[in-house]
Symmetry: C2
Subunit: 241 residues, 2 copies
Amino acid sequence: MDIQRKDVHNSETPVLCQACESRHRGVCGALTPDQLLQLSKHSTRRTVEPGTELVGESLKTKSYSNIISGVVKLSKMMADGRQQIVGLQFAPDFLGRPFRSENGVSAEAATDVKVCSFPKAAIERMISEMPELEHKLLEQTLTELDEARDWMLTLGRKTAGEKVASFLLLIATHAFPDNESDSVTFDLPMSRTDIADFLGLTMETVSRQLTKLRKDDVIRILNNRHVTVPDLTRLSERAGF
Amino acid sequence: MDIQRKDVHNSETPVLCQACESRHRGVCGALTPDQLLQLSKHSTRRTVEPGTELVGESLKTKSYSNIISGVVKLSKMMADGRQQIVGLQFAPDFLGRPFRSENGVSAEAATDVKVCSFPKAAIERMISEMPELEHKLLEQTLTELDEARDWMLTLGRKTAGEKVASFLLLIATHAFPDNESDSVTFDLPMSRTDIADFLGLTMETVSRQLTKLRKDDVIRILNNRHVTVPDLTRLSERAGF
DNA sequence: GGCGCCAATTGACGCGCATCAAAGTGGCGG
DNA sequence: CCGCCACTTTGATGCGCGTCAATTGGCGCC
């Protein structure tokens, strides 16, 4: 399998989400058993393939989802086709833009993705009734904002080499948030073209920088996907830290 | 409950914030007169000059503020001095990162800025007691996230010319959010260097693109600061739309 | 007015990344 | 095992923007 956030991420006692049929810290973590039961009547659970569009850029959102496993890319496109990936979301993130039907961002599965979806109306009603839920949403949104701003520094001020190293570091830390050792191995959740769209580069430049990192023994790559980083410190130096 | 929320939100007549001694739509808009009175005992109001640091990058935040007037720039810096402005905040935005002492972003006044500050503890207590306030925060945070993602597209995929045009468009729309006509005039809230740091460019490139826009009659500039845009449509074409 | 100071402009040049093109690699069905 | 296809790598060339340096322009001060 590919990227998978290590079980439940800091969990002390994650609530069992009956709707999602899985333990995680998504939105359901804020609900009581009764509320979960009620919500689960309206929820649907499904697994989609890479490339599936989960939320259209200008389409009205009809539902919100918890990501149970996998990676989702959020992207924006210009009229002439230029594209920028503006964020990646991992389990157990919440997917969807509350309080607005359009958000100008399209969400697409990068890997196989398991999601648990709720109708828009149900979620918004629960939000207005449950401060806990709103608080949880605020926390996630603030975290996403922090991450977006970090990435703006990467996009605006880093060189191609630093960008690619930053990307590898991002995936490494999200795949194993609690990793203590200095070496990691993981699978890249997306193609060179996608990586380029995330970094504001071209596919060719990404490829060249990856081979440079390989030649300098900062990383090793098997089958174009499977990456091992023997020393995270050296990688983060390459990323500009 | 629902009605009340809606009311506070879309109110045409913003609530008088006794703490800030000014009518605006900031956080105070969610409070009742009693709560405002209580809060105002702990608030301080001040005006600062351009360049004043309002929140340090790694300093612990001790207070939160409403921006009453002026423009604040949020920026990040790398160890070697490279800098990126990751956001601009206008009145009546809320300034500060709840639920975390560090946020990795420093806030600096771009223009003369009037702020109304509250101690961290007071705000966080009120948040936990007032769902209304938390909702307002969530709304602003979501808006900031949308704006951050828009800017990521600009940073990652637009040319220098498109970037500068996008910046002018951003200022024009924020200076006069309700502008209906196709021509606007406004003052740039910051220097060429700051603009460059916001766009991921150099000062020289910003300057060259501005003179190009001037020569093409898309904009006019007086005294290096005062800008008039005769036709917003032509400007937004230059921005990549 | 003359002077100094700082921000902005303009010019000359080089480098980093994009662009275009071709060859290599892995995956999969026949 | 072979051939096909999508993806990736590698190479050659060009351009956009960065870099460095000189000039201009605004503004307060003596």
